[in-house]
């Protein structure tokens, strides 16, 4: 069998399809809860309750100050000592989500802050309640600022999810590794996994473009672009 045939075989094998599904599931679940955590943190930081702020600061300090790999291994091995037994998938997803939340909060915060005091007060001056100001004025404008970097986070998470192979979650990297070690054909097994990753990132980028267009209603006011925070500064690359 030549290399190409084996790669194609791998690509459509049940083993790889399951693993790819697992990688996608991990990414989506971790991002969903990560974004939720990030939004909650951002709102807490914005409203400025002292005690809650203290907790949130500690959380961010811990999850930004330690490697994601450490967090995964920590949650998988240490939580059971406190009687919390999670499956390897649950531990992995939880660790990734908590890790993500610590970074996404910054994106969410930049988004909320992109809507200035002036507009908030204008909204209050016409009688809107605080939640209406959030719902009708802040969030719709924040989302335009938030979506581009969130798209990057999704792609980052897809790659980061490979880390949970250390706690034996059967995702793409683990399965590729297993396939390769059974026959020592690393090129074929890893190429098949790499193709999946590339296909997913390409699809994510495509979706991101469409959502961005939708969020802008096909129209992007110039001021919002000028006021948008520098997403490079809050991207994940240099932080890990």
């Amino acid at each position: 069998m030549d290399a190409l045939t084996l790669i194609i075989d791998y690509l459509f094998s049940e083993m790889y399809l399951r693993a790819a599904g697992m990688t996608l599931l991990l990414t989506v679940v971790a991002m969903f809860f990560g974004m939720l955590a990030g939004l909650v943190i951002a709102v807490i930081q914005e409203t400025g309750n002292k005690q809650l702020n203290y907790i949130v600061t500690t959380y961010i300090w811990f999850f930004r100050g330690t490697p994601a790999l450490f967090q995964i291994i920590f949650i998988y091995n240490v939580l059971p000592e406190f009687g919390i037994n999670l499956s390897s998938f649950m531990s992995g997803a939880l660790a990734l989500a908590l890790h993500e939340g610590a970074y996404v909060s910054e994106i969410m915060r930049a988004g909320l802050q992109s809507v200035g005091k002036g507009q908030r007060n204008a909204a209050r001056s016409v009688g809107m309640k605080e939640w209406q100001v959030m719902r009708h004025i802040i969030l719709p404008q924040a989302i335009r600022v938030i979506i581009p970097p969130i798209g990057n986070q999704f792609i980052g998470m897809l790659k980061l999810s490979a880390l949970v192979s250390v706690v034996a979650v059967e995702e793409l990297l683990l399965v590729a590794n297993q396939a390769a070690s059974s026959n020592f054909l690393y090129l074929e097994a890893l190429t098949a996994a790499g193709i999946y990753y590339l296909v997913f990132t390409t699809i994510f980028m495509y979706i991101q473009g469409h959502i961005e267009h939708w969020a802008n209603g096909g129209y992007r006011p110039k001021t919002l672009v000028e006021n948008a925070p520098d997403t490079k500064l809050i991207g994940r690359t240099e932080a890990r």
């Binding site: 204008a122 001056s125 016409v126 004025i137």
Partner: protein, 253 residues
């Protein structure tokens, strides 16, 4: 200061001995002021004298430390979860317009009537278009704020406030951020409303405009009301020396 029980029939705002500070900085010091219904009051004073803060206390964008402010006889003091009820009845126009950037001109105007008052969308839009006629830019209904000149944005901002049918309009330096050629159009709208009987408080340095519209002139300095007199007296020069020094300064410019 004692309070005449009938005064609230006459006055929409009654402020008594109001003190307000930001941290250690005292911004309003013992301010007492009545605003009569249908009256147009112009407030002048140097930058930092507390003009914005004072009118922001009227619609509860700021709270006060002591004293009392009444709106139609009812005390307003602290920002609480019911603050919106007061704000709903008081329009405010800001120096920098503060239109909602993600909404078209018409949506800027109809949003609050729809979400705060529960108005039907069609009715709100019809009313919104009538208001755009009033401020003389109906052709911009579907434009976004960023596509308008400053003067146009400010007229939309006025229409946005009017859409809530306020009993009082507060204008905080409505033309200070405008290019000179835009000022006139905005002042004309404010003047027209004033003449139609809208109770108005205008913080401005446009003395020609003040002379045209003001029933009452207030001069603030260092957080205190230094002068509060009828426009006639004020513009006939019956003012304190301190006020005169300020007026001479801004009239030279």
């Amino acid at each position: 200061m004692s309070r005449d029980p009938n005064s609230s029939k006459r006055n929409i705002i009654e402020a008594r001995n109001v003190f307000k500070s930001f941290g250690d900085l005292e911004v309003l010091k013992d301010v007492s002021l009545d605003i009569a219904k249908q009256e147009t009051m112009v407030i002048v004073g140097p930058s930092g004298s507390g003009k914005s803060t004072l009118i922001r206390c009227f619609n509860l964008l700021e709270g006060i430390q002591s004293g009392e402010i009444r709106f139609e006889g009812n005390i307003i003091k602290n920002i609480d979860k019911d603050a919106w009820k007061r704000r709903e009845e008081i329009g405010m126009v800001f120096q920098n317009f503060e239109l909602f950037g993600h909404l078209t001109v018409l949506d800027n105007i109809t949003l609050a009537p729809i979400v705060v008052k529960g108005l039907d969308k069609k009715d709100a839009q019809q009313k919104g278009m009538a208001l755009l006629e009033k401020v003389k830019i109906p052709e911009k209904a579907t434009a976004f704020p960023i596509e308008l000149s400053g003067g146009q944005q400010q007229r939309v901002a006025i229409a946005r406030s009017l859409a809530m049918e306020p009993k009082l309009m507060l204008y905080d330096e409505p033309t200070s951020a405008l290019d000179p050629e835009m000022v006139k159009g905005v002042l004309e709208v404010i003047q027209q409303l004033s003449q139609e009987g809208m109770t108005s408080v205008v913080v401005t340095h446009e003395m020609g405009f003040a002379r045209n519209v003001a029933d009452r002139m207030v001069f603030m300095d260092h957080g205190r009301i230094q002068e509060n007199s009828t426009a006639d007296k004020f513009f006939n020069g019956q003012v304190s020396d301190r006020t005169r020094v300020f007026l001479d300064q801004i009239l030279i410019h």
